[in-house]
Symmetry: C2
Subunit: 187 residues, 2 copies
């Protein structure tokens, strides 16, 4: 069970089989249909998600009601409104499925259990968080240094499948340009 997750963890740290079993038992599984929400704005966030299959988007609605996409997440990625998750508070963002999606759910209580008990898993969590941090920082860099057209090119170079899976409409919301502008240089 949870073969993907086990491989994912073993790829990053070395860990005993029985420990891994124990960890895996702390997850619950969910299947969510396209367009449904894993997290809704303003609700208490109690879970983080490891994505087995499918595609989700983390979104934010600003004061003017405009929707923005903070990130996409697909197979083998982790996602949540981590600010709300770690602080056990209400979501400022939403997490919605772009495709039918299968996830493993880790409650914050179980997250902290893992933090306290298991050294190998602590190391895993540190590395996980570090890689999330580094990825975010590189996105910031990309937003600062590249215009929307360059960011679009980088995106399709790094994730060629994403363009097929995500409407351009939503790519624009991720890149921070209007869909018209994206359209003008994507054709």
């Amino acid at each position: 069970m949870h073969l993907n997750l086990k491989k994912h963890i073993e790829k990053i740290v070395s860990i005993e089989t029985d420990e891994l079993e124990q960890v895996a038992s702390l997850f619950t599984q969910k299947k969510i249909k396209k367009n449904q929400f894993l997290i809704r704005e303003n609700e208490i966030v109690n879970e983080a998600y490891y994505i087995i299959s499918g595609l989700v988007k983390l979104t934010y609605t600003d004061d003017l009601g405009k929707l923005h996409i903070v990130s996409f997440a697909m197979e083998d990625w982790w996602e949540s409104d981590f600010n709300a998750y770690f602080n056990r508070s209400r979501a400022t963002m939403s997490l919605q499925c772009i495709e039918d999606t299968e996830v493993l759910c880790l409650s914050i209580e179980n997250y902290e259990l893992i933090c306290e008990k298991n050294p190998a898993m602590q190391l895993f969590l540190i590395k996980l968080s570090n890689s999330g941090f580094i990825a975010s920082q590189q996105r910031i860099l990309s937003l600062l240094t590249n215009n929307a057209q360059e960011r679009y090119q980088q995106l399709i170079n790094r994730y060629p499948t994403l363009i097929q899976r995500v409407p351009k409409n939503q790519l624009a919301l991720y890149l921070g340009v209007s869909r018209e502008t994206l359209s003008r240089f994507s054709s």
Copy 2:
């Protein structure tokens, strides 16, 4: 010794005094003058820095030779080119002092030592990394949802001292606008 660091750690996790001593002994101290570099682009990054006093900037030079500021860091903050640090590779960014600055240095070897040995410190590192990740994500959100003027306002609201300490020139590089544009709405 390292009183600031100890307080900083104790603020985040509870830890035995002797353990804390042991951890503190893994740091070395440096004093750097204004405009000097802690990290230069293209050099191997072996250290991360906890800032005791002063102010530094993490910068990136793009293909066109334009300088961008990824982040400022001041008292009680951690900074490095973390991508290079964790991967023991060469810096793509530079870390330069805006003021005379005092730091504590943690080599990647000692970082990993802490990771492996001490549960309380592991928890500390997890939380540290998580908070860095969350901060980055909120910066992304701010870049997506707010224009430069709003970002400027948010910055001076959150860090009122920063405007006195950083030339507006460099604030512009952080906000992602030209200094002329910043000047037009900051007066």
